[in-house]
């Protein structure tokens, strides 16, 4: 993991209210474990992992954790710069976290236009195992996500459900974007040439 720290291809920012499980999500993705043996690693604040996209090309994903505490809220937008994707987290067993979601997304859209937004409903295992009650209905989430045209996934950092899928889809889309940009810039260059000739 250390070797990836210097070069990062895709910057992903994780935002969301406090204690929605941002750090656990990163922990699950990077080290494939949950709280039980978290002591082994330091610094889940920044981490990087290499992923292979659908098309077979490898990309190093750098994940930036952000502070969800209200008092540092105003600073979080500094992290958005040049982010290829942002995962906005909310706790499906906590209604207030869902309400905070909108402000995060609007802020993101405002600051970093080109940043792809993913909504992540965390702590799915609590609902599945019946420990806590779902406060945010899935239909409502889907409706909202469709409305603002973002992808929504419900994950569980404890079981690892949908975590890898979430990051995999980010890498796939980013690689797809890259090729589109490359193509368009190529076309532009050709157009320029033509113009130059004339």
């Amino acid at each position: 993991m250390k070797t990836h720290n210097n070069r990062v291809d895709i910057k992903v920012v994780i935002v969301g209210n406090m204690s929605v499980g941002k750090t656990s999500l990163i922990q699950r993705f990077i080290h494939e474990n949950f709280k039980e043996n978290m002591n082994e690693t330091i610094g889940a604040a920044f981490s990087a992992k290499e992923l292979t996209s659908m098309s077979g090309s490898k990309r190093i994903v750098g994940i930036w954790d952000t502070a969800g505490t209200e008092r540092y809220r105003s600073m979080v937008k500094m992290f958005y710069r040049d982010a290829k994707a942002a995962i906005v987290c909310f706790d499906i067993t906590n209604k207030s976290s869902w309400e905070g979601l909108r402000s995060w997304i609007s802020e993101l859209r405002e600051v970093e236009e080109n940043c792809k937004v993913y909504i992540c409903g965390t702590k799915k295992d609590l609902v599945d195992e019946g420990i806590s009650e779902r406060e945010v209905p899935l239909e409502k989430c889907n409706e909202y996500a469709r409305g603002i045209q973002v992808k929504l996934l419900e994950t569980s950092s404890k079981t690892g459900e949908n975590v890898d899928e979430l990051f995999q889809s980010i890498v796939d889309e980013c690689v797809l974007d890259e090729s589109i940009i490359a193509k368009s810039s190529l076309q532009l260059a050709e157009n320029d040439k033509r113009r130059m000739c004339c």
Binding site: N39, A45, F46, G68, D82
Partner: protein, 648 residues
């Protein structure tokens, strides 16, 4: 990036609009104007400055010119060698009319940077090195000329630098000479270019006069000093202020952060931030007991920045933001930490009573220095410092005590050993004294001679008489009563010893009856020499030792003694002959030998007896008594010899 962090959510939007009334947002940093209006205003201001500066320069031209000239000269003399090295690859660049003093001070450091990457260049080859230096030099010249123009803002320079990085990256991918390099090497090359160029340009680009960086530095420094009462608790930061381990980590992270100002290249500054942040992550992991999330990390970083109060913080941040390779700053680990540092600085700048969750009055009182919270980091630090020192000293003392005790024990052991050694030595000396009394030394001498005897004993006993006969027969006809030729024989290594031997023989024979000794002359002669026989003499009644002593006496006195003694010595001749010429008679039967010997010895003894009778009175006063005793001793000796013989 730093433009973003200036924006504050807590400020009303209308306040944020440009002062000029255009629809764009204004910025505090730009005096409340939007970027467009700000640049226009700035350009005007700068033009004014230039005009004024030109006027001033005219007025002060001569002194300034001279100072410059002197400076130039100094650099030329000091750094000529180094400069030559640097310019060796492009001799044209030397005479471009550019002041060398600009390049001069950084030359040494640039060399150091080059030396740092020596390994890389040895790998990629000279062609690549030349090309990359060409790029750096052209960029350097361009930027230098741009910087000289007061109309170029620092942001334009920053843009140039970023362009340079991008162009260089593209060049590394396209140029022929870079083909075949790994992406890692390319990255290192870009890194090198950045480091080299920025080290050379540091003086111009860091905290330039055209910006307000310096004012901001002073402001933030003052602000942090005002906020020195803020504790970890105020920031909701989980730093455990009582643990010494955490303390040490806080200290070392502060040190790393302070080191940022002393480095020149942007990536080095970034490296300082990275090391500082890694230490903070480490210490937060210790405090929290799990992986550090951004929620733990950011407050801790703010806390460290507040306690460190780094010099020229804002200048450093701006310098890195402007001139560090953007691709590195935006996505890597260093970028993450740097962003966090910017957040921390922004938080400190915009810190209000709300951000610390405390009443406004209290906050204001703290800020004005009216109250000082008792539990501040500083006081805790001072207390802990003392405790820390005490603890440290105590451990040192404990260690010393242990070592002292060990030394004392060793000393005791050494003392015991010395006493033991002394006792042992004394005991051994006394033992030696008892075992080897000094008085016996002179008596021992004959014993040394005895040591030779065993060699003689190896000879077959019956043979020896023959020798004696032969030997004796020869001198007899010539000089029966003469002092003997043997007396003069030089072949004997030690005459004295030989005579001693004979004396013993003689005393035995002369003292006792010849018949007793006659039976086994060989044995007899041998035995007299042996220790046993001597012991016998010694243990035998007191008169005997005198006879031994007499031997010594005879040795000593012999030269001054009158003639009667001489036969004594002459009598030694038969034995001498025997011992020295024993090898000559291998085949003569034993009987003849013994008979011969008997005859001879009897005759000889008779003579000797007479001689001794004459001689002894002169030599010893108690001759008759001694004679008797001697005869007694010889009798005993004879008996023992017989017993020994039978045993043999």
């Amino acid at each position: 990036m730093y433009t973003l962090k200036k924006a504050s959510l807590r400020i009303d939007e209308s306040y944020l609009k440009c002062k000029n009334g255009c629809d764009y947002y204004g910025n505090e940093e730009w005096g409340g104007y939007c970027s467009k209006c700000h640049w226009e205003r700035k350009k005007e201001a700068r033009l004014e400055v230039v005009e004024r500066g030109a006027l001033k320069e005219k007025q002060q031209q001569s002194p300034l010119g001279f100072a410059k000239f002197e400076e130039k000269k100094r650099y030329q003399s000091d750094k000529k060698a180094k400069l030559l090295k640097v310019f060796a690859k492009s001799p044209n660049s030397k005479d471009r009319g550019k002041p060398e003093s600009l390049f001069g001070p950084e030359t040494g450091e640039a060399e150091a940077v080059h030396a740092e990457y020596q390994e890389l260049f040895s790998k990629v080859g000279a062609k690549v090195e030349t090309d990359i230096h060409k790029c750096i030099r052209s960029f350097y010249k361009k930027l230098l000329s741009d910087a000289e123009n007061p109309l170029t803002s620092i942001d334009e320079l920053s843009e140039r630098a970023q362009n340079f990085y991008q162009i260089l990256t593209a060049r590394l991918d396209e140029e022929n000479c870079y083909r075949g390099l790994s992406s890692e090497e390319k990255e290192q090359l870009i890194d090198y270019a950045e480091k080299y160029a920025m080290t050379c340009l540091y003086r111009i680009l860091f905290c330039p006069a055209t910006t307000t960086d310096e004012d901001k530095d002073l402001y933030i420094q003052k602000r942090i000093r005002q906020l020195n009462w803020v504790s970890a608790k105020h920031l909701d930061c989980g730093i455990d202020e009582t643990s010494t381990e955490v303390h040490d980590l806080v200290y070392s992270s502060i040190t790393e952060l302070l080191g940022m100002d002393s480095t020149k290249a942007p990536q080095d500054k970034l490296g300082c931030v990275m090391r500082c942040c890694r230490k903070i992550l480490h210490l937060m992991q210790k405090c929290v007991g799990g992986p550090t999330s951004a929620d733990d990390f950011l407050p801790a970083l703010i806390f460290v920045v507040l306690k460190a109060n780094p010099a020229r913080l804002k200048s450093n941040i701006n310098y890195v933001t402007r001139f560090c390779n953007a691709s590195k700053l935006m996505s890597g680990e260093g970028g993450y930490y740097f962003t966090n540092l910017c957040c921390a600085v922004s938080f400190i700048e915009n810190l209000t009573y709300e951000s610390l969750n405390m009443p406004e009055d209290e906050f204001n009182q703290y800020m004005s220095g009216k109250i000082i919270p008792s539990g501040t980091w500083e006081s805790a630090l001072i207390m802990c410092e003392g405790m820390h020192l005490i603890n440290e000293n105590l451990t040192i003392f404990g260690d010393l005590r242990k070592r002292h005790a060990a030394i004392m024990m060793e000393i005791e052991a050494l003392k015991d050993e010395m006493i033991k050694f002394q006792d042992e030595m004394l005991e051994r000396v006394s033992d030696l004294r008892e075992n080897v009394p000094l008085e016996l030394r002179p008596i021992r001498e004959p014993m040394d001679i005895d040591a030779e005897d065993p060699a003689i004993a190896d000879l077959p006993p019956p043979l020896s008489p023959q020798i004696v006969e032969e030997r004796v027969q020869q001198p007899r006809p010539r000089s029966p009563r003469q002092d003997s030729p043997e007396w003069q024989i030089p072949s004997y290594p030690d005459e004295a010893l030989v005579t001693v031997n004979y004396d013993i023989d003689l005393s035995d024979l002369s003292g006792g009856e010849a018949s007793q000794a006659d039976d086994q002359p060989m044995h007899h002669s041998l035995d007299t020499g042996s220790v046993a026989s001597l012991d016998l003499f010694r243990t035998s009644p007191p008169p005997l030792p005198p006879s031994n002593l007499s031997l010594l006496d005879s040795n000593q006195i012999s030269p001054s003694l009158p003639s009667p003694i001489k036969p004594l010595q002459s009598s030694s001749s038969p034995y001498q002959g025997f011992s020295s010429q024993g090898w000559q008679i291998p085949s003569i039967p034993c009987d003849t030998g013994t008979s011969c010997f008997e005859e001879r010895s009897q005759k000889h003894l008779h003579e000797q007896g007479q001689q001794q009778l004459q001689h002894q009175p002169v030599q010893q006063n108690n001759v008759p008594a001694q004679d008797q005793e001697n005869s007694l001793g010889v009798k005993i000796l004879g008996n023992t010899l017989e017993a020994l013989d039978s045993l043999l």
